[in-house]
């Protein structure tokens, strides 16, 4: 919209700072990448340096299930990686979508309507965020298994992920919805839109930045969550993080393979972030109202 900083442009200090920050932020990840391209013997040696012969061995190990050839250095190949990947994609995507839809509706209700029990709902929602998953694990497993009978299904995992992420989404979106000029909703209502139409056609598109940010975190949690996933998934519905953590042994930490898998595991959420963060744009409500 408006011209920032005019022709001057940011100064060199800005770029210096930016580079420093990038190094700090991405440094460990670059290191991870480098590590993933080394063999263990090199990784743990005192002398290893930045210059080394990269090897794809670790990636082959991590992906052996999905390769068309059988890498010879791999002794035993976990045949479930491909399946886990599909599970992860489904679980993360579905739960993200559900969380966002359900969450922003609830947030909208809490922001725009005054009704009995509003504060209670709002606080209770936040409270559920405060419980560490470690203690929920056993009750959740018990309830899912003995009462709902949805243990071991993707549904079951999705349900708990949606629930886990809801408080976050509800709370964070509330603060974005507050900022949508209420006049727009009034205009929509005058135009004959019901509450749901007002919400989906007018409010939702305007909180895109908030939605995108919330989506990034929701997806991240659903993608990386391990504890509950491990408890609730059976062999067929297991997700990638569960698979990966389960292939870590204490006996010999195979740094290279772990880093390789870590890198691979990070790819989908990074793509998701990349796509979603494009939605974080300025001026969503520009030109809407005057005042």
């Amino acid at each position: 919209m408006s011209a920032n900083a005019q022709a001057k442009g940011p100064n060199p200090a800005f770029y210096a700072l930016l580079v420093a920050l990038i190094v700090m932020s991405a440094g460990p990840i670059v290191l991870m990448l480098a590590t993933s391209l080394k063999l263990n013997v090199e990784i743990m040696s005192d002398t290893s340096s930045l210059i080394f012969m990269p090897t794809m061995q670790n990636y082959e190990t991590a992906l052996c299930d999905m390769l068309w050839y059988e890498p010879e250095h791999v002794r035993y190949c976990d045949p479930t990686f491909g399946r886990a990947l599909v599970n992860s994609l489904i679980v993360a995507t579905v739960s993200t979508i559900l969380t966002l839809v359900i969450g922003c509706m609830a947030a909208y209700s809490l922001v725009r309507f005054r009704f009995m029990g509003r504060d209670v709902v709002s606080l209770t929602t936040l409270m559920t965020r405060m419980v560490p998953p470690a203690v929920l694990l056993v009750p959740v497993f018990g309830i899912w298994t003995f009462q709902y009978g949805i243990d071991g299904t993707r549904m079951g995992i999705i349900l708990i992920y949606v629930a886990m992420n809801l408080p976050f989404v509800i709370w964070i979106l509330q603060s974005f919805i507050v900022q949508v000029p209420i006049q727009l909703e009034e205009a929509a209502r005058m135009d004959g839109a019901g509450p749901f139409q007002t919400f989906f056609l007018v409010v939702l598109p305007l909180i895109k930045p908030g939605l995108a940010a919330a989506a990034i975190f929701t997806f991240r949690v659903a993608w990386n969550e391990f504890l509950l996933g491990n408890a609730l998934a059976d062999r067929n519905s297991r997700t990638v993080p569960v698979t990966i953590v389960n292939s870590l042994t204490e006996y010999d930490i195979d740094w290279g393979v772990i880093m390789a898998t870590g890198m691979l595991l990070a790819v989908p959420p990074i793509i998701f972030t990349f796509v979603a963060s494009r939605q974080i744009i300025t001026g969503m409500t520009a030109g809407a109202v005057k005042g």
Binding site: M1, M190, D191, G192, G194, Q197, M284, V289, K290
Partner: protein, 361 residues
């Protein structure tokens, strides 16, 4: 097309009382213009009518049916918001057609209506733009267009032309007048523009501080304001008010004040002569009642300060005693500022107000 009745409608925002109990009737297919000083509660009244604000008390009836609890949607109302409230994420075409799309109107009909209204508003070349890419006046026209495409029973306009140029405004005024005459809708129109109020309104309602001061036809308000407030509010330039004493003697009435003495004739003169002799009043003198031609009425001496050129007319800012007096005269007459000159006053157009209550006598 319902008859709308406000029955003791009250509205307060927290401690701020905006509408003390308000009674108002809007007749079937009437074009009502709401005027009043900024902040007097015009928008609030519209918004209450639309169902966007809850009532703090009282009730509104549509054809006798209370609608206090109805959603805006159920009231069949179209509204132009004072602050536009355009959907920033939709382009202009979609902004205008939103209500129609919700109502399930067919594509072709939507297209047809939007194009027609957009043409009318001179925004047909902007249909693909987003509101942020429009000028202020263009946005206002979109807001207007959004209401005009609709086929509602009641139309509410909240200063819909304030940001348009005179020419376009005249065009829109004509359009609205036509709409008023051809289709059979209730319209409530808020404006600060005297010309709009006078030309469009079947009835003008003058509000002040949430209270209705007077309602009636434009002529009624101009010629027979009930009190000083209305008299001062209707008419531009505004009426001059001069303190003075009213004297009646032998059936003739005159007002004497600081630097002037004017007979009061015409209908007012007759009426006032009935009232007690010798009384402190405020004299109302319209700028248009003052004529450079002394022979056109009773003489008054005015000290000319400035002449404001308005085109065909000029406004003379003058002083009569210590009071500022405006006079509207044809620009053809030239006056030197600083001079004192005698003007003629149309004495049958004078108005007399009670000094304390402000009521017109």
């Amino acid at each position: 097309m319902p008859e709308i009745v406000f029955d003791k409608v009250r509205k307060s925002f927290g401690a701020v009382e905006v509408l003390p109990p308000l009674d108002l009737e809007l007749n079937d297919s009437e074009f009502t213009v709401l005027v009043g000083p900024s902040g007097c509660g015009k928008s609030t009244t519209l918004r209450i009518l639309a169902g966007l604000e809850t009532l703090s008390g009282g009730e509104i009836y549509f054809d006798g049916r209370p609608i206090g609890g109805l959603e805006p949607k159920e009231r069949d109302i179209a509204m132009v918001f004072q602050d536009y409230a355009l959907y920033p994420h939709m382009n202009i075409a979609r902004n205008m057609s939103f209500a129609l799309r919700l109502a399930g109107v067919s594509k072709s009909e939507i297209e047809e209506k939007v194009t027609r209204v957009a043409k009318l508003l001179n925004i047909d070349h902007l249909l693909d733009r987003k509101p942020a890419e429009l000028s202020g006046g263009q946005r206002q026209r979109v807001a207007m267009g959004r209401a005009m495409v609709r086929d509602a029973g009641t139309f509410l306009f909240d200063e819909p032309l304030s940001n348009l140029d005179a020419k376009l405004r005249a065009k829109m005024r004509t359009e609205l007048a036509e709409m008023r005459d051809t289709i059979d809708k209730n319209m409530v129109y808020v404006t600060h523009d005297q010309v709009e109020a006078m030309t469009l309104g079947d009835r003008i309602v003058v509000m002040s501080d949430g209270k209705i001061q007077q309602q009636g036809s434009p002529e009624e308000l101009f010629k027979r304001p009930v009190n000083r407030f209305v008299a001062g509010f209707i008419g531009s330039p505004t009426m001059n008010f001069l303190d003075g004493e009213l004297h009646t003697k032998d059936g003739s009435t005159w007002v004497q004040g600081d630097g002037y003495m004017l007979p009061v004739t015409g209908e007012t003169g007759q009426r006032v002569s009935q009232v007690a002799t010798s009384r402190n009043i405020t004299l109302g003198l319209r700028p248009s009642s003052i004529d450079p031609d002394v022979t056109a009425g009773a003489p008054i001496e005015l000290h000319i300060a400035v002449a404001e050129y308005l085109g065909a007319q000029s406004v003379l800012v003058t002083r009569c005693g210590q009071t500022e007096v405006l006079a509207e005269i044809a620009s053809a007459h030239r006056f030197e500022s600083g001079k004192v000159r005698t003007f003629g006053v149309a004495t049958d157009e004078l108005m007399i107000f009670d000094r304390d209550s402000g009521l017109r006598l």
